[in-house]
């Protein structure tokens, strides 16, 4: 074991050093508190320290206290004079693991060191186990993340996730172009989700997101592509549709939202800001460009709503 000694008294120091060396330990000798502290803060610090209670600069108890403040794993044995029980208690309170009284009894010292070594080995195997567990958790998280990246559906709503939606919508747009059908792209963003999270908690927030997903599902047909793009954003691609059906379907969505709010009995209400664009079959833009258009329109609605809310918030 590597053992640090902090002892200003030369004779005690020699006795300690000789005994420890004889027992096969590697000894780091310091003769004052400051040097001891520096050695214990070093990268390759000894795992055990024998500190004299009384030293001219920084005493053993002070070093103990500092070590525990920085959560050092060093095992500390404090050396105190015989019959100084109050020193002893103070030392243990300061974070010493053990103590020895002077003049030193070599047999006792050896027995305490063996006990210390057992504790240090146990602690090390515990730390090792914690490291292994942390690594296992990291690996598992990475695997789950990889799986999520591979998946096409959103866990919370059961709708397509961003990846699933884009892939499928892109494909449908190509089919629509070829078959010369117009499509409708709807971008829907929930209103006030942050407020729900902040006041009712994240579980309520999740419930609201799931409910919004369910409303979308009930509103559209099976052949329409519905996705949760992330957070509070949804998108729907409705193939083969044109006015006046387009307007009707958006009205149906708004109607279903308010119906939900009347019936749900939840403490929150769901609001959707909606942006919709018709996609002509002659249009050569890809799905992401179309989504940017829809997003912009949605955002305009959201801004208007916010202005409206400001007015409504005036005390009744």
């Amino acid at each position: 074991m590597r053992i640090l000694i902090a002892e200003d008294d030369e004779i005690s120091c020699r006795i300690l050093t000789n005994n420890l060396t004889k027992w096969g330990h590697e000894v780091v000798v310091t003769r004052n508190g400051n040097d001891a502290w520096r050695a214990l803060c070093a990268r390759d610090a000894p795992s055990l320290a024998i500190l004299d209670r009384v030293m001219p600069d920084v005493d053993g108890i002070e070093i103990c206290r500092h070590l525990r403040e920085v959560e050092s794993p060093v095992h500390v044995i404090l050396l105190t004079s015989l019959n100084r029980r109050e020193d002893l208690l103070e030392g243990l309170e300061a974070g010493a693991d053990d103590y020895l009284t002077k003049p030193l009894d070599a047999h006792e010292l050896r027995a305490r060191l063996q006990a210390a070594q057992r504790i240090l080995e146990l602690q090390e195997s515990l730390r090792q186990r914690v490291r292994e567990l942390e690594q296992a958790i990291e690996e598992r998280k990475a695997a789950e993340e990889a799986l999520r990246n591979l998946s096409l559906t959103d866990q919370l709503t059961g709708l397509y996730n961003y990846r699933g939606f884009i892939n499928l919508a892109e494909h449908h747009l190509k089919i629509s172009r070829r078959e010369t059908h117009p499509s409708l792209l709807i971008y829907a963003d929930m209103d006030g989700l942050k407020g729900i999270n902040d006041t009712l908690g994240h579980r309520a927030g999740s419930t609201a997101i799931a409910a919004a997903g369910q409303i979308l599902r009930n509103t559209f047909r099976d052949c329409d592509i519905i996705g949760r793009l992330g957070g509070d954003e949804f998108a729907v691609l409705v193939p083969n549709i044109q006015e006046p059906e387009s307007t009707k379907v958006i009205e149906r969505l708004r109607h279903n939202v308010s119906e939900y709010n009347e019936m749900s009995g939840h403490k929150f209400t769901i609001g959707l800001s909606i942006g919709a664009v018709e996609i002509d079959h002659q249009h050569a833009w890809g799905i992401e460009d179309q989504m940017a258009r829809a997003d912009e329109i949605m955002y305009r609605e959201k801004r208007e709503k916010k202005g409206h809310e400001e007015v409504q918030k005036k005390p009744a």
Partner: protein, 125 residues
């Protein structure tokens, strides 16, 4: 002068002999080394005590007495350890008592030196 049965030996040689266990092979006699350290250290500590008592510097005197007690106890110099302990924990009537204790320490040290030097001789022979 005859020693009575109750009088403490100035040096308990059995305590010194324990340090033979810490002797590292191939190195000079460890007990001799400790004796040399002690014989060097004590006059220095006496000096410090005398000066700091004269200067009314009690904390320095106390620290020196503490060292003297520790080193003496380590080497089995038990009487000196006891007297140094008294000096270390002295509270009242400081200077006079302190100087008295110092002079009994010096007397005792004369006896201790003889014994330790004899032990040193024996081991170096």
């Amino acid at each position: 002068m005859s020693l009575t049965a109750t009088e403490t030996q100035p040096v308990d040689l059995a305590i010194l002999a324990v340090y033979d266990d810490a002797q590292i092979e191939g190195e000079p006699d460890f007990v001799v080394e400790l004796i040399d350290l002690y014989l060097n250290e004590v006059p220095r500590l006496f000096d410090t005590i005398r000066k700091s008592v004269a200067n009314k510097d009690r904390s320095t005197a106390r620290r020196a007495a503490h060292s003297l007690r520790g080193s003496s106890a380590n080497l089995g110099v038990l009487q000196m350890a006891t007297i140094a302990g008294e000096l270390e924990h002295l509270e009242n009537d400081y200077s006079n008592v302190a100087l008295e204790l110092l002079s009994s320490l010096e007397n005792e040290f004369e006896r201790v030196k003889e014994i330790l030097n004899a032990e040193r001789q024996r081991r170096s022979a």
